[in-house]
Amino acid sequence: MGRRIWIDVTGLRPGSDAGLYGLHLAEALACAGQPVQPCLRAPGLIALSLNNLRAAMTVAPLELTQAELFRPAPPRETPLQSEDSADLPAAGDLVIFLSLRGDGSRMAQNGAMLVLLATNVTTLSRPEWRWPREVDEAAIFLRDTAPHIAFGIAQAEESAGVLRRAGISVHRTMRGAADGGTPVPNPSHPRPFIFASGEIGEAGQTRQLLPVWRRLLETMPEGAVPDLIIAGPIGPQAADVLEQLWNCRFIEGRARVILFPSPAQIAGFARDCVFAISMSPGTGWGRGTLNAQCMGAPCLSAFHSYGAVPFDPENPAAVAARIRAWLVDPPVKPPLFNRTWDDAARDLLRILPA
């Protein structure tokens, strides 16, 4: 049996940016004929088929309405099943960790090479934005697993810096790709809108959009401020911002919130928006920015690495000023950026040792 590429998705939440990154990458590697094996530690090793990985990582989209916000969540189906023996990676295998979770040292015992392909390093850079358990697990990972990591791959220079400060050697950066959905055929929204894509919660800085919109509405002529469409997975500390949106009836009917948007929805919003804005700072994998660029939408981005127009998401005054400037003087649409997950898989294979 030849070398296998294990992709460790332990702890990645369904519908999360990191979970989708793992899914897209695993599928692209499989399409490229690579012996890819998604797995998770729970705590014994569970091997997942691509079908089960897809079932585990995708969530049906949900548009929030006032009624939805306080509807009890339906019980989640648990599609995960062990499909084959939980043998440990063998000597010569590669194990790619997508997150900094817990103790993975056992996976190195048989001589497998461990690689960290970090998709989100906010547990290290901004622990106050994450769940305490995530932060604790990252500390365990740094203590027990990081010493066995052969090398790290970061999504961008910002996250490479965070990993290096935590003692992980990062040689290369590698970007992901857009979700790659086919846009919905009909207009995605009846009025002009700005598309804010990213994790809903503190790490996605969604909270800042409310004061930003208040300032725009108070300082611009009536009718000059487009609607706001927020789309993304739910992250830590999302309750307050969702409650505020509900309290003000979604900015008096000017805002929509779509949880876990489908690739088709994302592509449709990116196609139809006045411009896109990605509030997640430069520590994820730039999903919002890549999705906008893939559809040729001008993009303001807190993720500074992929050529979008950068800004500081923690400064709502500056965000409002940037948006106002683009509303007054609309940006030129950038050329389409056609990068697929097949490209990402090829890049990864070039980085990994033969």
Binding site: R207, L210, V212, D240, Q244, L245, W246, N247, N315, P316
Partner: protein, 353 residues
């Protein structure tokens, strides 16, 4: 002052606000005028009583004036009472501190916002006199009246007293230099911009040299996640939940200066409180805060942590500037007692007669 009675309807929310002080001072002022029997108070939906001995008094009648002290949106009986009083020939004055539930509905439960809007619309149409703390509230009120086609029967500005805290000689519970944000832990206060500014300052100061940021106040609305972040600990930040007035006074006495970042405020009691206790203030440049701080406070954009960080850094690095600023406040602040505010209020009400 006429021989007619003044009846003050204090809403349950106002009982816990600065109106507790102004009502107390007003009662004292009227007592000093030898007319204690001319004052009655109603808290929430209770009956009217004389504050001196809690003895019940009769309902409002011809010639009396009812002063509605603060938002009565949560008092279901208030509007009916005011309508009956108007029919009986009593006059109605209302104090409107701010219109925040309408300007920032995201900070309030939707039913409160709806009740507030209804209450304000009704009370404005019943009142012969509207008292406001600032021109900022006046502008919001004008816009509300235009939107709802309500005539202005008379609006007057009343400057509130400086503060409610005693001066303190107790030692501060915080060791080392610190900066104070004394306000409820609430979305309205705008803690986020100050925490972001402190994070920026942390990167500019050598380790251990940045004064602590002390957040002190009661627990407000929509602050669960803020509280969670604070409980986990942020560098150079200390949170004091629910300090007593004496503890708060000691915190004021020991701080370098204070910060008030609230983006929407009718007035700035913590600003004048700081001045009264001799402390400089960085205040948001919006709402009623610039009217409270006049030229003695320094201002920043409440949505711009870089602006605040720049201002604070200058003050922290230039001790001479901070001392001069403090001296300027000691010289320039015109003290305003609650008795002065009460006497001015009585004058406004007397002019109604």
């Amino acid at each position: 002052m006429t021989r007619n009675r003044l009846l003050i309807a204090v809403s349950p929310a106002a009982v816990e606000s600065e109106w507790r002080s102004v009502v107390g001072a007003l009662a004292g002022a009227i007592e000093a005028l030898g007319q204690a029997d001319m004052l009655a108070i109603r808290t929430g939906s209770s009956g009217w009583v004389r504050p001196a001995d809690r003895a019940p008094v009769t309902a409002p009648e011809y010639g009396d004036t009812i002063l509605v002290a603060g938002c009565g949106a949560d008092d279901a009986t208030q509007i009916g009472l005011l309508e009956a009083a108007r029919i009986a020939g009593a006059r109605v004055a209302v104090y409107v501190h701010d219109l925040t539930p309408l300007r920032r509905p995201e900070w309030f439960a939707p039913d409160h916002t709806a009740r507030f809007g209804h209450w304000l619309q009704t009370v404005l149409s019943l009142a012969q006199l509207v008292i406001i703390p600032s021109s900022a509230t006046g502008r919001d009120l004008d816009a509300f009246r235009r939107r709802h086609n309500i005539a202005d029967h008379g609006t007057r500005k009343l400057r509130l007293g400086d503060g409610v805290l005693p001066s303190s000689s107790d030692p501060s519970p915080i060791q080392g230099p610190y900066v104070l944000l004394a306000a409820p832990f609430d979305q309205r206060t705008g803690h986020g911009v100050v925490l972001s500014a402190w994070r920026r300052l942390g990167a500019r100061f050598a380790p251990g040299t940045l004064p602590r940021l002390v957040l002190a106040g009661g627990e407000g609305h929509l602050c669960g996640e803020l509280r969670e972040r604070l409980a986990r600990g942020l560098p150079d930040v200390t949170a004091q939940f629910g300090p007593s007035p004496a503890e708060l006074a000691a915190l004021f006495a020991g701080c370098l200066f204070t910060i008030l970042p609230a983006p929407v405020e009718g007035w700035g009691l913590p600003v004048t409180e700081s001045f009264a206790l001799g402390k400089p203030v960085f205040a948001a440049n919006s709402g009623g805060l610039p009217e409270a701080g006049q030229r003695l406070a320094r201002y920043f954009d409440p949505l711009d942590p870089d602006d605040l960080a720049r201002n604070v850094e200058r003050a922290l690095r230039d001790q001479g500037d901070l001392s001069r600023w403090q001296a300027e406040i000691a010289r320039g602040h015109q003290k305003r007692g609650w008795m002065d505010a009460a006497m001015e209020l009585l004058g406004l009400i007397a002019a109604l007669a």
